[in-house]
Symmetry: C2
Subunit: 162 residues, 2 copies
DNA sequence: GCAGATTGTTTGGGGAGCAAACAAATTTGC
DNA sequence: GCAAATTTGTTTGCTCCCCAAACAATCTGC
């Protein structure tokens, strides 16, 4: 609605534009930070000749630390639908990072596990992730980083009440 | 990568599983918070009988505050490709929230503007967004909220160095 | 042993994102 | 002034993420 046209209407090709209330919104800051972090993650891996998304890294860590995990349990841990997980596992399996073994105790489920190549790759990935984390935290002190993670956890807890 | 099997291997259906180093990663916290916030945003709008994504809201605010914006300028402001923007504008235009007018000064560009219905809708959306923001910040003090937004800005600045 | 639940998969649909190619229009170079 | 280069919006093609519904195989409760 009628905003007073206070700013001069950009003499040149407006180097920055009016973002209104957006900069005061947490959701907006979150979205922009997340997309920048994602880009940095991708760039870090690309420069090392590797290809992996943050989601795939999280998945591999979960499988590594919880051997024999079922797809349902993994999907729940990741917060995605079990049908969404299928093509992701297909891809990682095609890259020989992970296997779907038949569960010895339940014929319906698969026991997920890293291959030896997957475990070796995860070690490399972990080093890249640490470098990436170091870079995106380079503007923050150690205590600020801790604070940020803590506050993000609180936001997540508040937001989940659907 | 042999981790000592310290934890008992989950007697029941493991209510929580080993997340390894993930909880210490800023990128991980960011991703989880973002997805929870997104879900809350969608739920807030759904409950009010409206449908809008955070990205669409940001786009509408930008068009509202910068009348006559071109699609290229908008795409740059949103950090997306100009070809990505096309179907998004198509959808908003089909909902009669926004129009592509021919620019009087440059025959190549469109001058984007909200329709009157779009301006009215944006006012409603703004109220919903404020309620949503209030909910996701309900676990934080006012100063914590400010700190969070500030830290997210710093992260974004550090991450952009591709 | 059989009804009901669970698991993984497939299919179908929607959205977000990029790259490359293209026509129309503008700006630049001379 | 006019040809060449650039910019803008669009289309097409590709990849990826996400969900819902349906289905067969398997397990569980009783």
């Amino acid at each position: 609605m009628g905003r007073p046209p206070a700013k001069p209407p950009s003499t040149a090709r407006s180097p920055s534009l009016d973002r209104g209330l957006l900069p005061s919104l947490m959701g907006y800051a979150l979205r922009r930070a997340q997309s920048a972090v994602f880009a940095d993650f991708a760039a870090t891996f690309a420069k090392a000749g590797e290809a992996l998304t943050p989601g795939e890294f999280g998945l591999l860590v979960l499988v590594d630390r919880n051997e024999g995990l079922s797809q349902m349990a993994l999907a729940r841990a990741l917060g995605i639908d079990r049908s969404t997980l299928v093509p992701i596992l297909d891809r990682l399996q095609a890259r020989d990072l992970l296997v779907r073994r038949p569960s010895p105790t339940d014929g319906r489920t698969h026991a997920l596990a890293l291959t030896s190549a997957g475990a070796k790759a995860l070690a490399r990935f972990g080093r890249l992730v640490r470098a990436h984390e170091k870079r995106i935290a380079s503007g923050l002190s150690a205590s600020e980083t801790r604070t940020l993670i803590e506050l993000l956890g609180k936001v997540r807890a508040s937001a989940r009440s659907l």
